[in-house]
């Protein structure tokens, strides 16, 4: 993974040195952070054989609700816990519906994606909400840079580390992996499968909320149309990073690196001046090559070790 990431960066850099410009790499990283955070959260449902297609909607709703609260006078830093609580609750709601209506999470979250984005639309009444206190430290600091580095990036690293610990070293994480690994045995062993499902979807909701909060801090406005299609990119990033759709296995750092690779591919193509009608083709082709290379590399390594 990391190898592919580095090869990609350096490979492009050789031909287009401007790509290696610190500012370009940092901005690309920051832009990838939103999907990266969602991908990190997505590892939890995926690892237990569930999926969350509502992260894009949750992301948009978080931004809009945050912007509305701030516009209407709530101190931004106070609004943050409200946003995160709401996003987590919506994630949990996905889990509750999946569990109690007994519908696959694919369908539930496909519908709640519309639902959440719909609430955002209704809330914003079709307008962008930008009358927020831009001079507040929430926007200046959280949305800005520190020593030239977008604050979002260290946060991504910290949150990634925390989620990695949660996934690999906590009881909750182990239960998530256990359920994904063998659902029958998990039920048989008496693991609280329903509760864990709700919690796993709550985690992915929370991360959508975190992404929404950071995007709000950066873009300084709430916009209900944001984040469309993010769910697929986030799932793809998680899978590229080694999470199995079939459950049981997952990697939070892998998911984040997966998101970075996808973002770098798009950005790199810009440096090669791909004509607009070929952009889509080139993006698809490069992703395929990058992922195939990664897969081949892994096979090679496990074979030689």
């Amino acid at each position: 993974m990391v190898v592919v990431l580095v090869v990609l960066v350096l490979g492009v850099g050789v031909f287009r040195p401007g790509f290696l410009d610190a500012d370009n790499l940092l901005s690309t990283g920051r832009n990838a952070a939103y999907v990266g955070l969602m991908a990190a959260g997505m590892v939890f449902p995926l690892a237990m054989r569930e999926v969350d297609l509502s992260v894009g909607g949750n992301f948009a709703l978080s931004m809009v609700v945050g912007a509305v609260l701030m516009r209407d006078g709530m101190p931004p830093w106070l609004a943050v816990p409200v946003i995160l609580l709401m996003a987590t609750a919506l994630g949990a709601l996905n889990g509750v519906i999946t569990t109690y209506a007994r519908i696959p999470s694919f369908i539930v979250t496909l519908a709640t994606a519309l639902l959440f984005r719909g609430i955002a639309l209704a809330f914003a009444a079709g307008k962008q909400i930008f009358e927020v206190p831009r001079d507040n430290s929430f926007f200046v600091d959280l949305g800005g840079r520190y020593l030239g580095v977008p604050v979002t990036l260290p946060l991504l690293v910290v949150l990634g580390a925390v989620l990695t610990l949660v996934f690999t070293r906590t009881r909750f994480g182990a239960q998530v992996r256990a359920i994904g690994s063998n659902p029958d045995a998990a039920a048989y062993t008496g693991l609280p499968v329903d509760r864990i499902r709700i919690q796993a979807l709550a985690v992915s909701g929370l991360m959508a909320g975190v992404a929404g909060t950071l995007a709000l801090a950066f873009f300084m406005s709430g916009d209900p149309t944001l984040g469309e299609g993010f769910e697929l990119t986030a799932i793809a990033a998680a899978i590229i990073g080694g999470t199995a759709l079939g459950g049981g296995r997952g990697s939070v750092p892998g998911a984040i690196i997966g998101a970075l690779i996808l973002a770098l591919v798009t950005s790199a193509l810009v440096f090669f001046r791909i004509p607009i009608n070929w952009t889509s083709f080139a993006t698809g082709a490069v992703i395929l090559v990058a992922v195939a290379a990664d897969a081949a590399l892994r096979r090679y390594r496990t074979r030689t070790i």
């Binding site: 610990l165 070293r169 906590t170 009881r171 182990a174 239960q175 992996r177 256990a178 994904g180 690994s181 063998n182 029958d184 045995a185 998990a186 048989y188 062993t189 008496g190 693991l191 049981g248 296995r249």
Partner: protein, 495 residues
């Protein structure tokens, strides 16, 4: 003391239990035996709260209990090792051992605590070598079975229930397990032990109960009062075979069979040569990792030699598993749940999968009537007891194994490779299956057999090839083939 009385359980039209009862006394090992489908696993599932009975009562220390689920049973000190392995293949050994109650330190899983607590149990069962950080899916079937036993022991139970814990275990591991169980019983724990190995049962149990068709045939009779024949009669009733069918005369034919010539597989086999002729039943034996299973893999196309030659029915060695199957190899795997069955599909579809779906014989459209007829014939030959139209996952363990055998029988293969083919199969059916294997050999098929059950090897094989550390160390043929000598050869080699 855990007691159950008058347990009744119906699954749709099937009556799994019809007045089952059992009394587990502290400090005693109580064995439960019965034919496949007699209701043993069902009884056990009721005891530990997995299944709710339609009638009957369970009492713990004379107080009635009704467990909401296995967790509730576990909370009262009842631990179970289920018949169908219930490990988490993606989790580490340590996580598997403690999944029900993971020890933590500062909120994080404490690997150190897990290792400390697990070490003595793992050592007792001979798992000391297994790294606790390895994922369970990488372990052998035998190690996985022992891992489950370890998991149950680690909960510190007062009642320990083991549903066929030794079906995949080699003899040495069985002995270690028995030693552990005796020690556990001596501490005052009640043990329920289910097995189809009647000798083994008689060796370890203080009392024995027998279930027949869901009803008790014997209730907690002290082992000393029971002979082997009494047991078999209780289990099978009038259907009990009067005598063991005599082994037929071995008539090897000329013609191409299976040959290995100076075969090397890095890390598994070194310079192995052997050949099996049509009409022969040859056992391949060894300790875990001795290379005997690698031999089966080569014949099935699951591996290719780095050096040397494999010959299959006069042709070259198989390129792939599929190639092997299409060229006439049948492979009855030991791990039926993973490699043998589609649990969520009807039995008859499972039983016809090799011929129609694997080899591709028959028309491209489904001729259901014909498929079902074939399935029925083969299943009847296996003494299958169950609903052919039901899902494979709803069968008792032994009957599942029969389905796996039946689907390979359907293929009409010239080379039959068997890996623990009677795992979990009751004595009666085991005898029937052995008879079928003999018929196949008489019919001129090549049969290769690996088994953790030494009795199976001695009863069935014309000769047994023994491997140690990837090399053939000797061969025992008809006259010299006894369990004693085989065990010595496997463990110590030929002096």
């Amino acid at each position: 003391m855990l007691r159950a009385a008058g347990l009744v359980k119906h699954y749709g039209g099937v009556t799994a239990l019809d007045g089952g009862d059992i009394e587990l006394r502290d400090g005693e090992i109580h064995a439960l035996v019965g034919e496949n489908g007699a209701g043993k696993s069902t009884l056990v599932k009721i005891l530990c709260g997995v299944v709710t009975p339609d009638a009957g009562a369970v009492t713990l220390d004379d107080a009635p209990v009704r467990f909401a689920g296995p967790r509730a049973a576990a909370a009262r000190g009842i631990a179970i090792v289920a018949q169908e392995l219930s490990l988490f293949p993606d989790l580490t050994v340590a996580e598997n051992l403690f999944i029900a109650d993971l020890p933590r330190r500062y909120g994080l899983l404490s690997l150190a605590t897990m290792e400390r607590r697990a070490a003595p149990v793992l050592a007792d069962l001979g798992l000391a070598e297994v790294p606790t950080r390895a994922t369970a899916g990488e372990l052998s079937l035998a190690d996985r079975q022992l891992l489950e036993v370890s998991r149950a022991l680690l909960t510190g139970p007062r009642v320990l229930i083991l549903d066929e814990p030794t079906s995949a275990l080699p003899a040495a591991a069985v002995d270690r397990l028995h030693a552990v169980l005796r020690r556990v019983a001596a501490r005052g724990i009640a043990v329920l032990y289910i097995s189809h190995f009647l000798q083994e049962v008689r060796r370890v149990a203080d009392r024995i109960s027998v279930l027949r068709d869901g009803r008790p045939a014997l209730r907690g009779v002290p082992t000393a009062e029971l002979g082997l024949d009494d047991l078999v009669r209780a289990m099978l009733g009038d259907a009990a075979p009067a005598h063991r069918p005599a082994a037929r005369r071995h008539r090897p034919r000329s013609g191409p069979g299976v040959t290995l010539t100076d075969v090397d597989v890095p890390g598994r086999l070194a310079g192995v040569s052997l050949s099996v002729a049509p009409g022969e039943i040859v056992g391949i034996a060894g300790l875990e990792g001795a290379g005997h299973l690698a031999v089966l893999d080569l014949v099935c196309g699951l591996g290719r030699p780095a050096a040397g030659r494999v010959g299959l029915l006069g042709g070259p060695g198989p390129r792939s598993f599929r190639d092997a199957v299409r060229r006439g190899v049948a492979f009855v795997p030991g791990d039926r749940k993973r490699f043998g069955l589609m649990l969520d599909q009807p039995v008859w579809e499972n039983a016809t999968a090799v011929r129609w779906l694997g080899i591709g014989a028959g028309p491209w459209w489904r001729r259901g009537r014909e498929l079902r007829a074939r399935a029925e014939t083969n299943l009847r030959r296996m003494r299958f007891r169950g609903d052919m139209y039901g899902l494979a996952g709803e069968l008792s363990g032994g009957n599942q194994q029969k389905v796996v055998f039946a689907k390979w029988l359907d293929a009409g293969s010239a080379v039959i490779v068997l890996d623990d083919p009677t795992r979990g199969v009751d004595v009666g059916a085991r005898g029937e299956m052995h008879e079928i294997v003999r018929e196949l050999a008489d019919d001129g098929r090549v049969v290769l057999l690996a088994s953790t059950d030494l009795a199976e090897l001695t009863e069935l094989c014309h000769r047994v090839v023994v491997l140690r550390r990837g090399a053939v160390v000797g061969e025992l043929s008809a006259g010299e083939l006894t369990e004693q000598r085989l065990s010595t050869a496997i463990n110590a080699g030929f002096a």
